[in-house]
Symmetry: C2
Subunit: 203 residues, 2 copies
DNA sequence: ACCACGAAATGACGAATGTCATGGGTCGCG
DNA sequence: CGCGACCCATGACATTCGTCATTTCGTGGT
């Protein structure tokens, strides 16, 4: 039937993937025509098959949901993308929207919201949580590229020396970047800075 | 029908909860008779209703899945509990088993594993991933109560002084505990120690 | 009664960290 | 062109952190 909506579902946790598929299949005009455990596999599937909507998680190995969204829409501009994630991070949300996603939903949201978002995406509408959108524009990433790199290394507890080694910088320069990031984020040390930046979705 | 298996499903993310319910309902001798978003709500439900099996996530607000498991089995020793989680942490696994859980499954596992674990739990069997069990016994928590407390505070980047304040200790004592934990875990600083302990499920 | 052990503290020392001033270099923009 | 950003580095300094030796105190075990 021409009114059936065909869906490619991408989610790394196998049990959750199967569960979401079962949920979507309960709508009788939805058809889950393919599933994939990560972005790489999803792109391979798309090379050989057709789908109306791509429903994807963000946190995945290989190629995350945001990279997948951008790559998939480059290949097929008419494909609608619904992003589904655990985290209400402004950075993620912003990246998703600028990659051409049609909707950004939290796994905390009701199942009905996913169903209606999929239907709305088909008609070309964008589904955005107003709270999330407001936070996203009011809270832009203040970090430079280098500060982000250094914070990522510092997250696991690496020493300044180890970070300098990893990035090919001097130890003093690393300390400067960390100090700069600590100042921008108004926290007291590298660990707090890394934790905050991670929570905001800036890393 | 007397052979129907009644299930209480506990999971904080509403969409995942609905999805898992849809998945379980596809088995025609399973009936999801109740759902709850956290441990507290689950216990309230159990006060008024009956179920054969409790399927619960671990990471939840209010009362986590492990606490729920212990409390539920205290109230109803014949209730079977299937723990479902994202993390393969030895500490979680050990706590689950000593709380009387029948099964400990990862969300990475196939959906069929969940179904068969539920069936097996009814017959009194325990379903344990052999890899996880081996890791659990070979990797016991080496930390003392105080070391755990201090590491939990250190996770977010708190200074020794702030930790001392929070726990009512002197700053030097806090440094001693951290130093001890760092030594036991064979890492180089508090951030690495906290990250490792968290990954092992010891916090 | 004695011992072992964890909890708590103190003081001291070297190492790592955070801050600041200062010097460069590149690049895009008005 | 000059200006502002971001990038890279060095040196100096105070603070924080990690380590170690040592002491006190209470609890539980034998």
């Amino acid at each position: 039937m021409s009114t059936t909506i065909s869906i490619l579902l991408v989610e790394d946790q196998e049990m959750v993937r199967a569960a979401l598929a079962a949920l979507l299949e309960t709508e009788n005009d939805f058809a889950v025509v393919g599933t994939a455990p990560d972005g790489r596999a999803a792109l391979e599937w798309l090379a050989d098959h057709e789908a109306d909507v791509l429903v994807t998680d963000i946190e995945m190995p290989q190629l995350d949901g945001l990279q997948l969204c951008a790559a998939a829409r480059r290949a097929r501009p008419d494909l609608k993308v619904v992003i589904l994630t655990t985290f209400a991070r402004a950075g993620y949300f912003r990246r998703a929207m600028s990659s051409g996603a049609s909707a950004y939903l939290l796994k905390d949201a009701p199942a009905a919201a996913l169903v209606s978002a999929i239907r709305a995406s088909i008609t070309g509408q964008k589904v955005i949580d107003p709270q999330l959108a407001a936070e996203a524009w009011s809270d832009p990433d203040p970090l430079t590229h280098r500060e982000r790199q250094v914070l990522r290394q510092a997250e696991g507890g690496a020493s300044s020396e180890a970070i300098a080694e990893a990035l090919g910088l001097s130890e003093g320069t690393v300390r400067n970047y960390l100090s700069s990031a600590i100042g921008k984020l108004q926290v007291r040390n590298r660990a707090e800075a890394a934790a905050l930046a991670r929570a905001k979705g800036w890393l």
